[in-house]
């Protein structure tokens, strides 16, 4: 595997970390994760009354001896995870006040997450979108699949307008089984629509994680002198005096992040605010550690 987004040194540091979803996921092969389906498995789950059609061999005779009724044993099935990585490639993701754009930062996250998931025999798919879905790589858990994802990442360019909700809804309607949905975006779209899309995922029992990538300049607005700002997506220009707007801007950005924190918490969505000036390894490591300790 040769890609600028996957550094062997970084990979080696993540060899002991796993990404476990909040609840059960539906998979096709045996894996690390609990399955919502009860059946033949090694781990006992529950009893239920025997009905017509149940296999005779699944009757728990010990319970019958005690209760004189037929109960069937139920086992938790351990299965693999289907994870969908949704990467926003809109023009706004091309912003950078330092060496790395938000999109590049997202690509690093995608590469590392893909590696971790495939390593733990989970299937990983990648969806890139701006105002619509640009690329869709269906989930696979084969080691060769990682190279497919990395190849796609290699050629990504920021373009198009941010319309996060629509592609999310599309993805939500495509997914049949429970899955892990990881959204990497700056969320610069209508908050209500994004929330609606996220709720769509949650409604379909999908596990959701949001990596909200924002540049340091977007957070503290540390411009030194008056300037004209041009929107990366719409081309709109505004002239402003940073000292005059900074306070209000920072307040609004803070409110914006706090709002997402709150609504994500309410909807049981993992919300990870990301400052692109902080190393992606540290961000991911702290998230995974936090996840494991829960």
């Amino acid at each position: 595997m040769v890609s600028k987004y996957l550094d062997p040194n970084v990979v080696s540091r993540f060899s002991n970390l796993t990404l476990l979803p909040r609840g059960a996921v539906e998979g096709t092969v045996t894996g690390l994760h609990r399955s919502p389906y009860k059946g033949f498995s090694v781990e006992f789950s529950d009893h239920r009354a025997y009905t017509w059609g149940d296999e005779i061999r699944r009757i728990d005779w010990k319970v019958y001896a005690k209760t004189d009724r037929f109960y069937v044993k139920q086992y938790e099935e351990e299965t693999n995870l289907k994870a969908y990585l949704l990467l926003d490639t809109s023009a706004s993701m091309g912003y950078s006040s330092n060496a790395m754009t938000k999109l590049e930062y997202g690509c690093y996250l995608v590469a590392l997450l893909s590696y971790i998931l495939i390593k733990q025999q989970d299937a990983v798919g990648l969806v890139t979108f701006s105002d619509s879905i640009n690329n869709l790589i269906p989930p696979r858990s084969t080691p060769g699949h990682l190279q497919v994802i990395l190849n796609l990442l290699q050629g990504l360019k920021p373009a198009g307008k941010s319309t996060i909700a629509r592609p999310c809804h599309e993805i939500a309607s495509i997914l049949k089984r429970r899955a892990l949905v990881i959204l990497i975006s700056d969320l610069l779209d209508s908050e209500e629509e994004i929330l609606s899309a996220l709720k769509h995922f949650r409604h379909n029992k999908h596990e959701c994680v949001i990596f909200h990538t924002l540049d340091r300049m977007e957070l503290d607005f540390s411009f030194k002198e008056s300037l004209t700002l041009q929107d990366l997506e719409t081309g709109e220009k505004i002239f402003l005096y940073p000292h005059a707007v900074k306070e209000e801007y920072c307040k609004r950005v803070k409110e914006f992040i706090e709002w997402y924190k709150r609504v994500c918490s309410e909807s049981q969505i993992d919300y990870v605010p990301v400052d692109t000036s902080v190393s992606y390894e540290r961000v991911l490591a702290s998230y995974l550690t936090w996840k494991q300790t829960r």
Partner: protein, 644 residues
């Protein structure tokens, strides 16, 4: 009322207001454009804040424009035209020229202080009233300083000049100084243009009317103040004249020092008069001088050793000390030699001069003449010395060599004198062509010899005012008319040579002609004092006349009039202040009495205009402070944002 500017050309500075406007717009255009993703948070905020900042910046721009405009206005010196004084307004800016009369009369001490010092103090007080960046100048009348080109805006320098001003030895022309003052004020941008003439209003200084020429536009704002330090009540005695007569005398002879003591006050005075020669006090006299009159004092002394001597006559010091002493000088020679130049020194020639030579030096023990006589031939004249020579007599001389003529000419130009006595030996054509025409030494044409029909002629017309004859005017002092002239040369004086006839015969022909030649004098008689020509030499008046003539021809003593004050400076009688206006044309002066305690107030009351300078300065300072606060606030906000 109306607004005017003292330096209107500086209003061009108003164009500087374009600078902040240009900077405002060009500065905005230079702002860089940066791509940014999160404009959704900025648009609303920007609309509100940019409007606020723009308003702030426009306000700041207005303040800066106002600052520059005010600065230009301030430099242009705006003044509200207003005649008279409004509350405590000291008047708009003032350009003042102080014409300080420093003639000797201002040295008069009154109440223990010289009037000149009082005038200086008053000038300083008036100078202190000049504020608001005014300018001033000191002119001394008579002026002893180099003529200034313009008024001085450094009042401290003018203050120093006034303090250091000193009295002069001579009087000046107030008309000239006042006109000079207004001429200089013409170039002054100040609103009020004032000339202060601080003087004792001496009557003798205002003999001629003073015509003041004011430029157009200056009439309203130009004022002439005459501050009077004079008073009709004064006491002054002066030594108005002193001198030795004649200016040259022989060593060991008596010399007379004549002096005049003048009393310029109305009360009679008795005063002691002292004579000093070469710094040593020689003698004194007590003299009584009646009010408004003079007294003559004559001192007789033995003349000192040969050389030039100085002396003075002094009276006891009074309120005006500058005229209490009068200097004079005189020359003492070893002898006073009269040189007779003859064609030759034969007995016959010498005999013909006997009456004249004897009259000059009688050679008797009882009569002591100041003159000695010597005889030279015309040839010897070429090498003769004129060192102790009182006069040269060319007696019946036929001709002179060119070289001798050149020597005589030089002697005359240096202050010597020649007396011609033409007899029957003279060469008329030589006298007319060479002496008269070519050298102009002989001031008349010699025509034919006159032999009166009735046998003789007499002197009938004499210029008695002339010093040679003035002493004989009094009856019984000498009679010229009794002399008989049997023949004499008919002389025709040159009309344009400056020759004058001092005495003439009854037929109008000249007996004695005088002409000045260089510093010297030439006298021409119509004949020689000899028998066959006249009997003038037998007349009692002859000896005295000849002596008076030689005395008159002696060179004058060295003049030292430049260190003696003018007589006019001793008369302190002032012009009536009520009539002073009649001496001025072109301007109506304001006469102020120096003793008036409200003098400064009267000057201030007449100042015009209200200066806006001070108000504008304060306004500008406030605006600069405001601009400083606003821009600092703006910069600090920017720095705060940038995290500096």
């Amino acid at each position: 009322m109306g607004l005017t500017f003292l330096s209107p050309w500086l209003l061009l500075g108003l164009s500087a207001v374009c600078i902040p406007i240009i900077l405002h717009f060009t500065g905005k255009r230079r702002k860089k454009t940066v791509f940014f993703p999160s404009l959704k948070f900025l648009i609303e905020v920007q609309k509100r804040t940019v409007r606020k900042v723009k308003i702030f910046q426009i306000l700041l721009l207005c303040v800066r424009i106002l600052c520059l405009a005010l600065l230009a206005l301030l430099l242009a010196r705006p003044v509200i035209r207003y005649a008279g004084r409004l509350l405590s307004n000291p008047g708009a800016s003032t350009g003042a020229v102080f014409v300080l009369d420093n003639s000797p009369s201002l040295g008069y001490v009154e109440e223990g202080t010289p009037r000149f010092e009082k005038a200086k103090l008053t000038a300083l007080k008036i100078l202190d009233t000049i504020t608001d960046g005014g300018s001033a100048l000191l002119l001394l009348n008579p002026d002893t300083l180099p003529s200034p080109a313009m008024l001085n805006s450094s009042l401290a320098v003018v203050r120093g000049q006034i303090r250091n001003a000193a009295l002069s030895k001579t009087g000046g022309d107030p008309g000239f100084s006042i006109n000079e003052a207004f001429h200089l004020l013409r170039f002054s941008p100040e609103f009020n243009k004032e000339v202060f003439f601080l003087t004792d209003l001496q009557r003798t200084s205002f003999q001629n009317p003073v015509r003041v020429n004011l430029d157009k536009g200056m009439e309203e704002r130009a004022k002439l103040y005459i501050v009077n330090f004079g008073s009709p009540d004064f006491n002054n005695l002066a030594v108005s004249e002193a001198g030795v007569s004649p200016g040259i005398c022989a060593q060991g002879q008596d010399l007379e020092v004549h002096s005049t003591i003048s009393n310029f006050s109305s009360t009679d005075r008795v005063v002691r008069v002292d004579l000093y020669i070469d710094g040593a006090r020689k003698t004194e006299k007590i003299v009584s001088v009646r009010g408004n009159s003079n007294a003559s004092v004559v001192f007789r002394e033995i003349s000192p050793s040969s050389g030039i001597h100085t002396g003075y006559v002094e009276i006891e010091p009074d309120a005006l000390t500058s005229d209490d002493r009068h200097y004079f000088s005189f020359e003492v020679r070893r002898k006073l030699e009269v040189i007779f130049v003859l064609d030759d020194l034969s007995d016959e020639s010498l005999k013909s001069t006997v009456y004249l030579a004897t009259a000059l030096n009688p050679h008797t023990g009882k009569i002591h003449s100041p003159f000695t006589v010597s005889f030279l031939s015309s040839y010897d004249l070429e090498r003769a010395s004129f060192e102790d020579c009182a006069s040269v007599i060319l007696f019946n001389l036929r001709q002179l060599s060119r070289r001798a003529l050149e020597r005589l000419s030089g002697y005359l130009r240096g202050g010597g004198s020649i007396i011609f006595f033409p007899g029957d030996r003279i060469d008329r054509s030589y006298y007319n062509s060479v002496l008269n025409k070519e050298y102009s030494i002989f001031p008349a044409r010699v025509e034919e010899l006159e032999n009166p029909v009735q046998g003789f002629s007499s002197i009938t017309l004499v210029d008695w005012r002339h010093p040679v004859f003035s002493k004989f005017q009094i009856p019984d002092q000498g009679d010229f008319s009794s002399a008989h002239f049997f023949k004499f040369w008919r002389l025709k004086p040159d009309s344009d040579s400056g020759a004058s006839i001092l005495a003439s015969f009854e037929n109008g022909l000249p007996f004695l002609i005088e002409k000045e030649y260089g510093k010297g004098k030439v006298m021409v008689f119509a004949g020689i004092p000899s028998s066959g020509w006249n009997d003038f030499f037998l007349q009692p008046v002859f000896v005295a006349f000849i002596h008076e003539l030689i005395h008159y021809l002696l060179p004058a003593g060295t003049s030292i009039s430049d260190i003696n004050p003018l007589r006019s400076e001793s008369d302190l009688t002032p012009v009536n202040p009520g009539k002073i206006s009649s001496y001025f044309e072109g301007i109506q002066p304001v006469v102020l009495d120096s003793k008036n305690p409200g003098l400064i107030e009267e000057i201030l009351l007449r100042r015009q205009g209200i200066s806006l300078r001070q108000a504008l300065v304060w306004f500008l300072l406030c605006l600069l402070l405001l601009e400083s606060i606003m821009s600092n606030w703006f910069v600090s906000k920017e720095r705060e944002t940038a995290g500096v």
